[in-house]
């Protein structure tokens, strides 16, 4: 039956929430992999029954999981993420140089047309690829070996590669983002990379418009207009209309332009969603009110969306990979909080309902429209 499947990664396992296309009643399955941090769980656009999950723990390190039946059963696949060649060094929190060291997989981006091909963004920042359904992973070392590598530094959450965008029109183009290095773009399937941060301004850097070093939190793209990118930066909501070559600010009338996730409406490439957070210091919503903001104009003019969201005493955060949309009609919007709630809207954000209230801290939310 056609429906919607919401894939939720949390600090203590994964959950799968399902509903029909009305998206009024939800069933929660899980926890899968209980006790493990699930940084990301996502499905293949080419085969919705093919799912991948990044399972990690301080005890046991990185484990990768694959499902071929929509999450009913899972198989442990390959977890060998070794950097190719000379490891090199990057800037550490204290300004010293530190060798690259693999810690975990933050983000998985399946190929648009091959269920066996998946890109993985990892900490310390690098991009890997599998072409055999996750059994083996190979680094695409051109990124980590970029001459600017020694200037990359970890954001507060670690030096993670968290965003991977595959251009559906220009198949050689891959855009990625790293905290805190910024945006890089490849035009040759990931062989070579160039910084793509022109227009970003970060007061936390000695050179605010430096080539690299920006703490980009998330980037979103609509597949029908892949040259237009929307970014939630550490501070500032930004937009590019030339595939990341240049950026300009679209924070406009937002109450605060700090935040983590950003998402684009499934059917309208000019409709964008953000969750404003008070500040880098506070990491909770302004005035204790959880609000999503929606722009119908591609930025600058934003509307507060609050129906069904906590109106007071709310001090949760929404992490960078924890917001997604479905492709049903009307478009559904979903986000998870550090307080363990998953909120859903089945009317483009006009109203919201908590479809899960008591999960562990939500790290990621992905949605499949079946």
């Amino acid at each position: 039956m056609p429906g919607v499947r919401v894939l939720v990664g949390t600090r203590k396992g994964a959950f799968i929430l399902t509903s029909n296309r009305k998206r009024e009643k939800w069933k929660i399955d899980g926890p899968l992999f209980p006790g493990w941090e699930i940084y990301h769980m996502t499905g293949s656009p080419a085969d919705p029954d093919r799912l991948y999950a990044s399972q990690t723990s301080a005890w046991f390190g990185q484990v990768m999981q694959r499902s071929d039946d929509g999450g009913k059963t899972w198989e442990t696949v390959g977890n060998d993420f070794h950097y190719e060649g000379e490891t090199g060094t990057h800037q550490y929190y204290d300004g010293s140089q530190k060798p690259w060291e693999f810690k975990r997989v933050w983000h998985l981006e399946p190929s648009l047309d091959d269920p066996d091909t998946v890109y993985a963004g990892v900490e310390d920042a690098a991009i890997f690829r599998t072409t055999d359904g996750g059994m083996t992973w190979s680094e695409m070392p051109g990124l980590r070996n970029h001459r600017s590598g020694p200037n990359w530094m970890p954001g507060a959450g670690g030096m993670c590669l968290h965003t991977i965008l595959l251009d559906p029109e220009n198949r050689g183009r891959i855009t990625i983002a790293i905290s805190a290095a910024g945006v890089f773009r490849s035009e040759d399937h990931g062989e070579t990379w160039a910084p793509s941060n022109k227009g970003l301004v970060s007061a936390q850097l000695p050179d605010p418009d430096a080539e690299v070093g920006h703490c980009v939190h998330c980037i979103a793209m609509h597949p029908s207009r892949p040259d237009t990118l929307f970014m939630q930066k550490h501070w500032d909501v930004m937009r590019s209309d030339d595939a990341g070559a240049t950026w300009y600010e679209i924070s406009g009338d937002l109450p605060t332009d700090f935040g983590f996730p950003i998402a684009v409406h499934a059917h309208d490439p000019d409709t964008v969603y953000v969750v404003p957070i008070k500040s880098d210091e506070h990491h909770f919503p302004p005035d204790g009110k959880l609000r999503v903001y929606r722009s119908r104009k591609g930025g600058n003019k934003w509307k507060e969306l609050k129906k069904g969201l906590p109106k007071k005493d709310c001090y949760v955060n929404v992490l960078r990979d924890a917001m997604a949309v479905d492709a049903a009609d009307p478009c559904g919007v979903y986000f998870g909080t550090t307080g363990g709630q998953v909120f859903a809207s089945n009317d483009e954000g006009d109203s919201w309902e908590a479809i899960a209230k008591y999960l562990p801290t939500v790290l990621s939310v992905e949605v499949q429209t079946l």
């Binding site: 992999f33 723990s57 301080a58 005890w59 046991f60 390190g61 484990v63 977890n79 060998d80 070794h82």
Partner: protein, 100 residues
């Protein structure tokens, strides 16, 4: 030598191991390294989960206990106690108290 190894439940799930105790044939001398090599050879899904794949360094939040002693920081090539080598006592792989 048949050696008995007790794994944490999390790793048994990763490697689809039903039994609480795993029995491994380990050639003498029975050392921590030889035992873990045998474990990973039989259950490749455990590669990287107790020690680094390449350096073989123990993961920070993994502990190795045997005969009520902590062998975590012992020389991995030192012989384990006879009671472990002959299977009377199990070798315990434990998630550290600080790791959860």
């Amino acid at each position: 030598m048949t050696v008995r190894v007790v794994l944490p439940a999390q790793l048994r799930r990763v490697a689809d191991i039903a039994a609480a105790t795993v029995e491994l044939d380990v050639p003498p001398p029975v050392t921590q390294r030889a035992l873990l090599d045998a474990l990973e050879a039989r259950y490749p899904k455990l590669l990287g989960t107790t020690r680094d794949r390449r350096t073989k360094q123990r993961r920070a939040y993994i502990r190795f206990f045997a005969c009520r002693q902590d062998w975590s920081d012992a020389d991995p090539d030192a012989p384990l106690p006879d009671a472990v080598a002959c299977g009377d006592e199990a070798f315990l792989v434990v998630g550290a108290m600080s790791g959860g």
